[in-house]
Symmetry: C2
Subunit: 516 residues, 2 copies
């Protein structure tokens, strides 16, 4: 038996001082206790300190300790012996771990000789080393001025509404619906909400068998490429355009043809389109320039699909964020020939972290995409599909759209003003929607260099360079995202950024070591 | 203005009689009202019936109506005008829909002529038409005797524990963590829990950079095939074995070599293994036979990897369900040469619908898998990763394992007894773990035919045929899953099944039209 002092010391080691931030005290205490039992640091039969002792030791309320002990007893980790106290049971103590042959000395020795390292690099057919990505620091939330695109603003996230829907999705009946393997099925209630509430706003009338849910729009593009593109297939893309779509097509061996982008959107350049079987585009707010494709151009693209047996992949990732005037309907809405495949997403509205996207395509295509998806992941997690369905059904999605459009419109105006004031020689057009401002700095500003310098000053911006397909893209383009930067940081952030650009259009080094 | 009678009629049409099953009355009422506003069926400025009127009309409590009205007013759908009542606001009424150019008559007409249907079948490189799948009816939960594998038993699902963890994952701080785009990151807390709690029980010591989370084990296999297998790569698989892995490898152009399976598990047949670069196997409980691979065989497989520069893909999908004795550690645990890639899953324990799987592999492989995953889906939904991490951290996972092992052991014993009693001439070995019994019926029983006949009698069984790689598999094998059938249904189900098999080993037609 240990002495009382040793005993108390042991418990002190098991329970570090509670943190006041983060999980509740109950949750922390439960975690520490369960860890100690499962790791074998307290053995079965050990008596725990009384609730009063432990509460005193940790400086927390006795009630907290009592509640945790009671719950752990219910759960079988502890046993309450009358007039004696709480004891660790044998139930979850770690016999299995002890009984397992260990990876240490007890394990069979490797056969002598013949051992050689695997030449992994020669075996792996990974993503091309020169693939262009957007580099976002993982800790972007800690930067003062995050002019990042596509990220998330906690002040806009509808916390209470999402909680309410998530709770409904935890009802017993709901769990029975989503917990089993759905094999290749989607949550019909979500598909129905897209049909009734989301797609009609884009002018699209779709049936259930024309929709497939995906793990974000990203998976929608990956599945389409896997199904439709073979080595050598010519695919037309916007230049500048969305690099992740390009990376996906290239992975399948596509030959890419770049179409220029002007103030009317992507240019249906007949020479570039020659022999293309697919055209990938972002008509609502072109990625990255934000330009809305004109109706004339839309009709021209549809005309191309008919004349040349082409198929158009319409990525409508942020159509819901239009704030200047009414949005144009999707191209899919005016397609009479089933030559448009539509890709949508809730990432730019609800949350990117939930990964909810979808494809609208002819039923014959959905059948094959569904088989591929079954092979790839079976189905997207079903509990999130249900919660998202309830979120739309209860009208929260419509309210969120409304609030988000208002917030983005205000930010867009503030950003344009700040740029006019502080970066007067940047060329840009005020965006009609979306959450980014695309522009060109004067002549020879290298925005790649500016990005790195700005980062060291707590400002995150995006150089436009990775969006270009061509070999020698302009070095002075940049994108300023405003979906995740608070309104009041916009003007000071642009002012700070402007200080880093000299009147001669060079990136200044303002007393900074190691940057650029 | 409408007359009072018409008015009341209108509201009656808007609110169908509440359903006593399903969502709460509040939720139903909210949904109907929001639908009516968003669909434009009640227009802005419309006064709603008083809470008393509506409560009387629908036969529900006035309090319910009051709560829903108040919440909708907070949300901006309704406006409470003092001494007058609740009115529909203009805020979410459907101007956007009205203003959109419609897909109907108002839309630009398609260009005349030149229209031709897309030849989709010729364009699509889908999953091979002759791929073998397991066919499970989507409404399997409605069958009386579901001897299905891999499905879910609501009585074992830890509803309260999962709810608790999901609620923690809805804290404001937690949402800030999971709602953004994590790009290519995983939830570190889940990875840490796997390292501390789950993998050690399999004898595996892994570091953070050796683990990648996936959308179920299925995506893990898909990613590995995408990275490692090229057209013509020889891959050894178990025969019989898991057909979805075979389908994934075949999609990448692999040449498959079948290894036989005996009472010691997969046979390391040197002739079949010749020129193979990969071996895919399920050592814990072989799929579909349930056999545990012996230690001698495990060492022989590792020896093959070293001698022949082979890599072993270990699918440890249900190792946690061992109930007869202690489980053997994973092969990964005794691999000294980084020649084993390990695939795990929470589907067979927590829930298949959540789609949580993972890969453990050398860091250099994980780097490439992560890039591929970024291209394919970015990352698995982050809220579920956090909830699963809490679930393990709070000790619920260990309790669930315990309970599940006990339940499966009881069911396995009951099933073996029932088969001995009613299907005396079925050959089988009592399973040491897992949730299925594999066996052979006498001589010429066609289990494919038996499956169809049984289905018509409310009994779901699996014919073993799709598990075989060889061209002329035995027709008399079957798998009886017991993860989703209640204990008390097992014996009656087997008794019913036995009635369908005659003493001559033929499938009987018992007064059934259209079956088989």
């Amino acid at each position: 038996m240990r002495s009382a002092v040793v005993h108390q010391l042991m418990w002190h080691q098991l329970f570090p001082a509670p943190e006041r931030e983060g999980p509740t005290l109950q949750s922390q205490l439960r975690t520490h206790l369960v860890n100690a039992v499962l790791d074998g640091r307290v053995t079965p039969g050990t008596r725990l300190p009384s609730s009063r002792e432990l509460a005193d030791m940790l400086g927390i309320s006795r009630n907290t300790v009592v509640l945790v002990y009671e719950r752990l007893a219910e759960d079988g980790y502890l046993e309450n012996r009358p007039r004696s106290g709480y004891y660790v049971t044998h139930r979850y103590a770690s016999p299995a771990m002890e009984a397992l042959p260990r990876d240490g000395d007890g394990a069979p020795a490797a056969a002598p000789g013949g051992t050689s390292a695997v030449q992994w690099q020669a075996r792996m057919h990974g993503v091309a080393a020169d693939a262009k990505w957007l580099e976002k620091p993982h800790d972007w939330q800690r930067y003062r001025y995050p002019f990042l695109y596509g990220q998330f603003d906690p002040t806009l996230f509808p916390i209470a509404d999402w909680r309410e829907c998530s709770r409904h999705a935890l009802d017993v009946g709901a769990i029975r619906g989503w917990a089993p393997d759905a094999i290749d099925n989607d949550d019909n209630s979500l598909v129905d909400q897209l049909i009734r509430r989301v797609l009609p706003r884009r002018g699209i009338a779709a049936k259930r068998d024309e929709i497939l849910m995906t793990v974000g729009a990203q998976q929608a593009l990956f599945l389409l490429a896997e199904l439709l593109i073979r080595p050598g297939t010519r695919v037309a893309v916007e230049d500048p355009g969305y690099m992740d779509a390009r990376n996906i097509f290239l992975r399948r061996g596509a030959v890419l043809a770049g179409l220029p982008v002007d103030a009317d959107g992507v240019v249906p350049d007949e020479a570039a389109l020659r022999d293309c079987r697919y055209l990938y585009c972002t008509p609502s707010h072109q990625c990255p320039t934000g330009v809305t494709l004109t109706t004339e151009r839309r009709l021209a693209l549809l005309d191309w699909t008919r004349r040349c047996d082409g198929v158009l992949i319409e990525d409508d990732y942020d159509a819901e964020t239009q704030y200047a005037g009414q949005p144009l309907p999707a191209i899919k809405a005016i397609d009479r020939d089933e030559r448009v495949i539509y890709v949508g997403s809730l990432s730019k509205t609800l949350s990117p972290g939930l990964r909810i996207g979808y494809v609208v395509a002819p039923a014959a295509v959905i059948v094959q995409l569904r088989r591929l998806r079954r092979l790839m992941i079976r189905h997207p997690p079903a509990n999130n599909q249900l919660a998202a369905a309830l979120f739309i059904e209860h009208g929260h999605y419509d309210r969120l759209m409304h609030r988000m459009r208002e917030a983005l419109a205000t930010r867009a105006a503030t950003l344009c003003d700040a740029v006019r004031q502080h970066l007067g020689d940047m060329r840009f057009a005020a965006p009609p929607g979306g959450s980014a401002l695309w522009g060109m700095l004067p002549g020879h500003v290298d925005t790649g260099q500016l990005r790195r310098t700005a980062m060291a000053h707590g400002i995150l911006i995006e150089s436009g360079e990775p969006f270009y397909l061509a070999d020698a893209p302009p070095c002075n383009s940049l994108r300023l995202g405003f979906s995740s930067i608070p309104l009041e940081r916009i003007e000071p952030g642009i002012r700070e950024l402007a200080r880093l650009v000299s009147p001669q259009g060079r990136v200044r080094e303002i007393g900074l070591r190691g940057a650029a």
